[in-house]
Assembly symmetry: C2
Homo-oligomer: 310 residues x 2
Amino acid sequence: MFFEGSEKKVEIVVTAAAADLRRRPRAFWTELVSRCNATILSELHNEQLDAYLLSESSLFVWDDRILMITCGEITLVDSVAFFIDAIGRDRIAMASFQRKNEYQSHLQRTCFDQDMARLNQLLAGKAYRLGHLDGHHNYVWHMDKPFAPPTDDITTELLMYHIEGPAAQYLRSDKQSADGIAELLQLEQLFPGFAFDQHLFEPFGYSMNGIRGDQYITIHITPQEDSSYVSFETDLDIAAECPQLLQQLIAILQPSSFDLITFNTTPRLTPPPNMVCVAWQQQPLACGYQVEFRHWLSQAEHAQAGLQLS
Amino acid sequence: MFFEGSEKKVEIVVTAAAADLRRRPRAFWTELVSRCNATILSELHNEQLDAYLLSESSLFVWDDRILMITCGEITLVDSVAFFIDAIGRDRIAMASFQRKNEYQSHLQRTCFDQDMARLNQLLAGKAYRLGHLDGHHNYVWHMDKPFAPPTDDITTELLMYHIEGPAAQYLRSDKQSADGIAELLQLEQLFPGFAFDQHLFEPFGYSMNGIRGDQYITIHITPQEDSSYVSFETDLDIAAECPQLLQQLIAILQPSSFDLITFNTTPRLTPPPNMVCVAWQQQPLACGYQVEFRHWLSQAEHAQAGLQLS
């Protein structure tokens, strides 16, 4: 029943000469995702943004940039290589690749060192690790080329582990529905004006993309006991637009551990009182982003039983 | 410069019919350790116990039991299979195998699932995981056969990560000597009456076995920055004999994270004030041991820079 929810992610901005990405034929995007063995399940479009729900996470396409997130054992660098070859290296304005630590890294097809070596062959880059090697951590590679991100080019990633409580029970039950999950997550209330595209996986698992103008939200849920993982990501300015958002997601999903990763933004987050921050790293990237990683864990106040494996 | 200090460990007790283990020729022990590609570097003997310092950790031999600890990428199950074949399954009274979570599990030759499958082919067993899958954790497999451990059959393991301060600096310097490390660790004062066998590795790394009567201590140090690891293990009754021991080791090595794993004992340990217990699990094993796992981490009070990888 194990499924690796932890994601790899790529974001690429193209120069003005290539900034007609949304005019590319659908076959281009099908090919892009097929390069890492993913498929498009459904899609959502508005005037500024195309959002594809994938068999393993999501792809967002703006005229001048793409954002692709993949979970499981997917080798996202294969899609990165296809995209860069198709667009041309000299028309890449910014590229960043992130890889979250896995629950079971030995089940992955590649390790970050291998991904990084491959990326460095495509584009000269730099890489960092934020967080300790023996705990939650995040790898970030970026093309080593100056870039000036627009002021609204910000990202917030909230990664929740070991979800508990009624929502977690519902997400593990056989009575769940996509609309039931949307209600549980209070999507309509938390994200007014967004259009949503949802998918329920068998026997468990849920993915959602939401778009409004050029803004996106995406939520991916792997509810399996012992390795549950929920990722939330957005470019919304949480501090200005919805300061209670992160607290509300945490209150609903009751994770016993979570990471907050931000690019050029500082959303408000007051963790529950029993949680402590055990890793906090900040790194300015030469491509114009300040990335920050924080990892919270709940204190263990009582002894629990071990997990029987066989 | 990365070296995986995290250990695999096996302890096997034989029945009275086979309890002449120390009479076995040295070639037997050379063969045992060679099965997992380790070698004997030096040895220490007294009336009750033989202690071998290995190229990757330690082997202790009593008349009725062995304890073997290996680090790096060693596949300890190969030595376990050799030992069980040589002794005979019906003369095994107790067998337990432990595997600590690795810094870099994807570099290992096997994962615990594979070790467990192999062990279950040798002897019918049960396995548990203590600690969370996404943080420090410990796997324990044991032969599923009732066993009544003697009252002094207790074990304390203190695993220290990310050592800091003057001791850590000394351990990473090129001026270190085995005697200098012994002084730093206050071996003579902390362990009166023990005989010591030490080995310094190139360019870094230190191993020490100590014996007194039928009691042992063993310390293994991987000082490398970013993945430093120091393991201490003993069968001393710390609460009765040296209640300040664990605090003193922690005060000297200043780890920013440590695990305490105990079998049938509850040594005293008051962690430094900035450290919090983030995992605490207890599990009774059908072979007569109560195993307990606790993991402490220091709170992150200031942002640090990320680690540049390339």
